[in-house]
Symmetry: C2
Subunit: 250 residues, 2 copies
C-alpha cells in the first residue's frame, strides 16, 4: 500500500524537492495581499473570540504562531505543485483559476470558521473551529465529512511544517456528534517520522476538554504505542507521505 502510494507521490512531487524549505514558507512572514480568513469576523461566537485571544497571547513570546489562511493556496511551493501536477487539459480550460480552497469557500459564518496555531518546539498544531449552519449532517450537528475535513487540515498543516506532504491514511473514530455553531479544539501532534512517513495524531475536544468528540484508533502496524499525553488514549492518527525524491520509499 505505502509502496504504491509513495511511488505515485514521488513521481508527482519530483520537481518540488528542488526547492527545499518551500513548504516552510507557509509559516513565514511572506507578503500577502489576499484576504486572511483566519481572523475574527462578526460570525465568531464569544467562545471562539476568547480562545483566539488566548492563543494570540501565547504568540507574543514566539512559542506559538498563528497561521494565515486564504481562499487560494498561499505558497509558491504549492503553485509549483499545481504547475507540475495538474492535468494539462484542465489547465487549458483555464477553469482552475476559479478554484477555491474547500474550507474557505463558504460565506462568512456558514461554513468552516477556524484559525490554526503552531508550536514549532512541540511540533503541535491547534485548530480552533466553529462549524457553521451549512455544514449540517444529522439535524443540528456537524457532518462527519466536515469533521474529517477539520482533522485533515489540522494534521495536514502539522505535516507541512516538516515539508510538502499529502495525506495517505486517515483513521477516525467518531465518539460524539459536534453541535452546529459550537466551538471545539482540534489538537494535533507529530508523533513519529520514519523516512518520508509522518505519523500525526489528532483529537477534537470541547473548550473545557471535558468532552472528547473525535479520537483515535491506531491503524498502522508501525505506529503502536503512542498514547495521548493527557488522557492516556491513542487519539486519531493520520499518516502523511513527505515528498522527497532524494530518499525514495520504494
Amino acid at each position: 500500500m505505502l509502496r504504491s502510494c509513495a511511488m505515485r507521490l514521488r513521481t508527482l512531487g519530483a520537481k518540488l524537492a528542488r526547492r527545499p524549505g518551500a513548504a516552510r514558507r507557509l509559516f513565514s512572514s511572506e507578503k500577502v495581499i489576499r484576504k486572511d480568513y483566519a481572523l475574527p469576523n462578526p460570525s465568531w461566537t464569544k467562545d471562539l473570540r476568547l480562545l483566539f485571544d488566548q492563543f494570540m497571547k501565547k504568540c507574543e513570546d514566539g512559542s506559538w504562531k498563528r497561521l494565515p489562511s486564504y481562499r487560494q493556496n498561499p505558497t509558491q511551493a504549492l503553485h509549483e505543485f499545481q504547475a507540475r501536477f495538474v492535468d494539462s487539459k484542465l489547465k487549458k480550460e483555464e477553469q482552475m483559476s476559479k478554484a477555491q480552497q474547500f474550507t474557505r469557500s463558504f460565506e462568512e459564518g456558514l461554513g468552516f470558521e477556524y484559525v490554526m496555531f503552531y508550536n514549532k518546539v512541540e511540533k503541535r498544531m491547534v485548530c480552533l473551529f466553529q462549524g457553521g449552519l451549512h455544514l449540517q449532517g444529522v439535524p443540528g450537528f456537524v457532518h462527519g465529512g466536515a469533521i474529517a475535513t477539520v482533522i485533515d487540515i489540522t494534521t495536514g498543516m502539522c505535516a507541512f511544517a516538516e515539508g510538502v506532504a499529502m495525506t495517505a491514511n486517515l483513521n477516525i473514530d467518531y465518539k460524539k456528534p459536534i453541535p452546529l455553531l459550537s466551538v471545539v479544539v482540534a489538537n494535533s501532534q507529530l508523533q513519529k517520522i520514519e523516512g518520508r512517513k509522518l505519523f500525526i495524531s489528532c483529537a477534537i475536544q470541547s473548550i473545557d476538554e471535558k468532552t472528547l468528540y473525535t479520537e483515535a484508533s491506531v491503524s498502522q502496524p508501525t505506529t503502536e504505542g503512542r498514547p495521548d499525553k493527557n488522557s492516556g488514549q491513542c487519539p486519531m492518527e493520520a499518516l502523511f507521505i513527505k515528498l522527497d525524491p532524494d530518499k525514495p520509499l520504494t
Copy 2:
C-alpha cells in the same frame, strides 16, 4: 470505544425506535415538494450524464433505485431525531431552521455534484460524483476532506437502508488524488452486521475502473477477511452503529 459510543447513541436515539422503518422512507416514494438535487443540471459533464443515464436504465426493472437528495433532511425520522437530539438552547435560537445539508450547500456545479443509486438485493450503494471548483485541496485536486465526505455519505446511506445509523469509524487510504471536475464512482457495500454494528466497504474508482483513487485498510479486529469482489483488495471500510435501543450494545 464501541461501548461508550453505543451508550451515547442509545440515549440520543431512544425515541426513534418507536417508529420502526422510518429510515426506510428515505427510499420510499414519500411526497416531496423541495428541490431534488440528485438530478442532472447544466454543470454536469458529459461523463456524469452518461453514467446517470446508464444507472437510470438499471432502475427500470426495479433492481436499482435512485435516491433523491435535498438541502434539508427529507424524512420525518430525521426530524424526530432533531427534536430529541438538538440542544434546547440551540432550538430556542431558531437558527437551526437555516441549517443546510453540508453536501448540498454549494452553488450549482461548485461543490458536491452527485447522485446515489441503491441496489436492495445486493445491499450496495453507488455514488456518481463530480467535484466542483470550490472543493479544492492541493491545487487542481479535490480536498481529502471532501473525499472523506463522499465516502461518509455513500456508506452512510448504505447503512441507512438497514435502519437509522451514525458513523462510528472511518478508515481511509488515499491512493491517488482526484482531479477537480473529473467524475468518479464510489462503490459501497454492506459487508457484515453484528448486532447493531454495520460494516460497510467503499472504494472510489475512475469511470473505466482502471484507476483506484481511494481504498481500504481494515481497522476493526472483528472485520477481517472481506476482500473486494473484483480486485481481491480490502476496500475502505466504515463502521456504523445502528440505533436500536431494544438491543443495547452495552
